[in-house]
Subunit: 192 residues, 2 copies
DNA sequence: TTCATTCTTGACATCATCGTCAAGATTGAC
DNA sequence: GTCAATCTTGACGATGATGTCAAGAATGAA
């Protein structure tokens, strides 16, 4: 290999993830990415083709990290405290940074109408895998829940996490989100 | 008044609402609005100043319609069936059109980072008023719930509706959203 | 050391949007 | 009917983003 790449691809993708997380796929520009990574626009085009290709790489990295963290949180303690850990994690995830970055998956989902099918599939992939993680976590619980019930409930839980992401964008504080999550867990998991 | 306006303002705002609902505040352009309303860009600038001013008018109209529909739905039957009506209404609201338009409030909330405080306040206003409507509806219910509990639960319900809006954007069908809503209602309202 | 290949750089053309403005059209008031 | 105020129209310049390209720089291979 001659004429070797002058930048660290991992670093560029990591920096790009930060840019996309703060600005969103649609609003982040190649200029933003070039400025943040220190790599010229032309080089980015040469290396990746276009903005979306960079986004897909960044999003894949994000999805892996996120789902692993979710799995870990859910696995700690029994089903109820696993869920609590999970909500804590997810709320920190979306309220972190200054200003807070929000939830990348949710932001990306909202741009579905103007996104490629590739992007849409990544979003669906994250939600589906999250549903499966949660379904397993709560169907393994002592309660006399059927697997079908657990799956339905898992989807409700995923849906609620998406709602939290929206409320964060609407201005609700970390504390308020935590309170809602607690109320939700009590109402949904405290029985049935 | 000489040199009178050549277009019907109500019609323009109604059409603008449709455009914003389909494209979002950020993605809709003045050209989109001009094409949809049949009013030249220059006239729109002259009459309203800028895109955001038109959006605020359209959004106010939307908010009124939406909150009135929500109130009506909640008021029909007891608290449980009121909630069911409410969810039915809200799901139809976001899955209507072809392609579906989604939820304008949620879409707007997600653009909070790039929106003016005026726009942010409208979003918060809708969510707050919706919370209050729901709080009243469920605190008037026979259950032995305190008002504080009802308010917390109302916020959880609003949050869940936001989640439904995200799931719709992620590709979930009307039927799937209805199933999640049913599961949610059973889990949250069926007890406590 | 030389060379061929790949990457990098800065400039370019294109496009879409924005906001403004001067000239013309319209119309209520007198 | 005339006039003055307001609206409408189409064009203009500015801006910022996109994607491409030719020329130069860098480097592994021989």
């Amino acid at each position: 290999m001659v004429g070797v790449r002058q930048f660290d691809e991992d670093e560029v993708v990591a920096t790009a993830l930060d840019v996309f997380w703060r600005k969103g796929l649609h609003d982040a520009t190649m200029q933003d990415l070039a400025a943040a990574t220190g790599v010229q626009r032309g080089s980015l085009y040469n290396a990746y083709g276009d903005k979306e290709a960079i986004f897909l790489r960044a999003f894949d990295r994000y999805a892996e990290q996120f789902l692993e963290a979710a799995g870990n949180a859910l696995a700690q303690g029994d089903a109820a405290s696993g869920l609590k850990n999970f909500f804590d994690m997810i709320i920190v995830n979306m309220t972190d940074g200054s200003p807070p970055r929000g939830c990348l998956t949710t932001r990306t989902a909202l741009d579905a109408a103007i996104s490629s099918t590739d992007v849409q599939q990544r979003v669906q992939g994250v939600l589906t895998r999250l549903e499966q993680l949660i379904g397993k976590a709560i169907s393994g619980a002592p309660g006399k829940r059927s697997v079908a019930d657990a799956n339905r409930l898992a989807r409700v839980i995923v849906t609620f996490t998406r709602g939290l992401a929206v409320m964060e964008r609407a201005g609700y504080s970390r504390k308020q989100l935590r309170e809602s999550a607690t109320t939700f867990i009590e109402a949904v998991v405290g029985n049935a």
